[in-house]
Symmetry: C2
Subunit: 344 residues, 2 copies
DNA sequence: GTGAAAGCGCTAACAT
DNA sequence: ATGTTAGCGCTTTCAC
């Protein structure tokens, strides 16, 4: 295992200095074509590979972006990360990945870890447990770009990319009303996360618009998961005045809802069901699930684009007010309608 | 934006030298408890945060592991990465993520990028397009751990973690035979990737064992995707002697197969269908899909465990022969059987 | 137990 | 166009 060649080795071999080598390697314009050429040639000959660490230490830029997601296993997030990585790679940036696992403390540790690794900036979707944002202020202090996606919250002083969650809730509820449903239940989380509150607001707005009285017994907050969907539905079915439609907090919750309904001998769209997220499976289950698409890929691309401009900017702080709000997309399928669906 | 505190600041404030500070911070045992204490206190007071970059440059260890996957969007891989990240985080390592996007060139670039970032090692599942492994030998040269997962290949000199793919193919085919099917088709990729060849070998072994003649017209190699499943199935249905069961290269292919069968008015298990991967959706589609589970989470955990021991080892090269072979798990569902299934 | 000093490999003024 | 020379912040011998 012989030592890696450094710019010193190139300089020595060529009888020039390291600054010249460095310039040649970095394509500086104040260098002669011949020198540049011989340096490049010698670099290849010595199998030279730059040590980005040394460069980073000296220049202060690592070309690494920290990304914190609740879980990389959730399709929405992996899809987002995937899209982000593609865009960043193109711009010469890499992604250091950290999962908060929906834990606030883990998220704090993540910020620390990534900051110590000297990332050039941080992109995050806060955990469900995150209710204060002090740990994110450190990015400010270090004058490093911070961007929040999906679980946006105006209490965080940073640009944010997400969907219009109020509208998403509205879309879900109004779609159901227009499909003829009247008693629309809502099974979701008790989390104080802004986007979930907003979805609920949208649901309320739709009810109001269509002059449907709000009935709090139709709101169940047991979390978001298959199990939560099942137990929430069972609870709803016990009501003297049952719902005729149920909105799930996400597609997994909706899956649980479908399962519980099926066990009770009810086949949607007899009772309507709407999910959130447009998980891959939602098109393929039977009945296929009506849901709201969150545009993970587009969100990733938009986030990358915005973030790259922040990285150029001398004072990323000034962009803190920036918001990118993508349209939620209602995907109508068989849990709310009897039309034949085709897999695509 | 005042400058971050360094060990120099701590040293100056305390009237001691940076070596002492460094030792105290790193919990060296040849330091007095009082000094250690005062250093820690002062560090906190100055809001000191270590610069891992500097430490890495000096020590040669970054505590960052490069991970190259074909795509972070595929559930198997995101699930693997997620599991890996959890285990590594626990051991103080972070993950630098790179997607090859099934391109050999991109994969090569990935190796370069990660190596320049001075990762402490590399974990990879090679792209479908990867047929030579020179780019991975660089890890050897730098004496850094390399681990291959899932798409294992004995031509790579590195420890490998995967499932027994021959057995997986065998399980799929023998299960079908035992369920009463006789003409079993195989829709997969033409890729020369070892694991796909092995699955096919397993399929052949099952046929042989049950004395079912091999019929090459039942083997379709159009790739693995929903579309490939659809067109492959349409092709098979045109045969004068149709198959009575079809194995798909992965769950998406199987999804396409189901779709094409449904269009042709055929409802499994009339024709049996088996997939690979146990994607999340496979339990929830109708009919639910019989498939082979690849144990992504366990594979991630096993990989992390093995990799961590390699990181301890002075000569990780010596572990190149190490293989961890997980059992593929047959998940029997409704596409091969009429028993009632319950969502779990 | 603590200090002095030489690096780690590169960047970026400043000089020439 | 090229060279000189401080660093970047930390680790790690080697002394004392």
């Amino acid at each position: 295992m012989k030592k890696r060649a450094t710019i010193y080795d190139i300089a020595k071999a060529l009888g020039i200095t390291i600054s010249t080598v460095s310039r040649a390697l970095n394509n500086s314009d104040l260098i002669s074509a011949t020198t540049k050429d011989s340096v490049l040639r010698m670099a290849k000959q010595l199998d030279y590979r730059p040590n980005r660490l040394a460069s980073s230490l000296s220049s202060g830029k690592t070309y690494i972006i920290g990304v914190i997601v609740p879980s990389a296993e959730i399709h929405f997030f992996s899809s987002f990360v995937s899209s982000l990585e593609v865009e960043f790679k193109r711009a010469g940036y890499s992604i250091l990945l950290y999962q908060s696992n929906e834990s606030f403390q883990s998220e704090e540790n993540g910020v620390t870890t990534l900051l110590e690794a000297q990332v050039d900036g941080l992109i995050i979707s806060p955990s469900l447990a995150t209710t204060n944002f002090k740990h994110l202020e450190r990015l400010h202090q270090e004058n490093k770009p911070l961007l929040v996606f999906d679980r946006t919250d105006n209490r965080i002083a940073a640009p944010q990319v997400g969907i219009d969650d109020e509208k998403a809730g509205y879309l879900a509820a109004s779609h159901l009303v227009q499909a003829g449903y009247q008693r629309i239940a809502f099974v979701s989380t008790a989390s104080e996360i802004t986007i979930f509150k907003n979805r609920f607001e949208g649901y309320l707005r739709a009810l109001k618009q269509f002059k449907i009285p709000f009935d709090s017994s139709l709101v169940v907050r047991k979390g978001m998961s298959i199990d939560a969907g099942i137990s929430g539905t069972n609870e709803l079915l016990k009501l003297s005045r049952r719902p005729d439609a149920i909105i799930g907090g996400d597609d997994f919750t909706a899956l649980g809802i479908l399962n519980a309904l099926s066990k009770a001998g009810i086949q949607p769209p007899e009772i309507g069901v709407v999910g959130f997220a447009n998980q891959l499976f939602s098109a393929y289950i039977t009945p296929s699930l009506t849901t709201i698409d969150q545009q993970a890929t587009k969100m990733g691309a938009e986030s990358a684009k915005l973030f790259l401009t922040m990285l150029q900017s001398a004072s990323p702080q000034e962009m803190a007010e920036k918001r990118v709000v993508l349209e939620p997309i209602l995907i109508t399928r068989n849990t709310t309608s009897l039309e034949k669906q085709v897999l695509d």
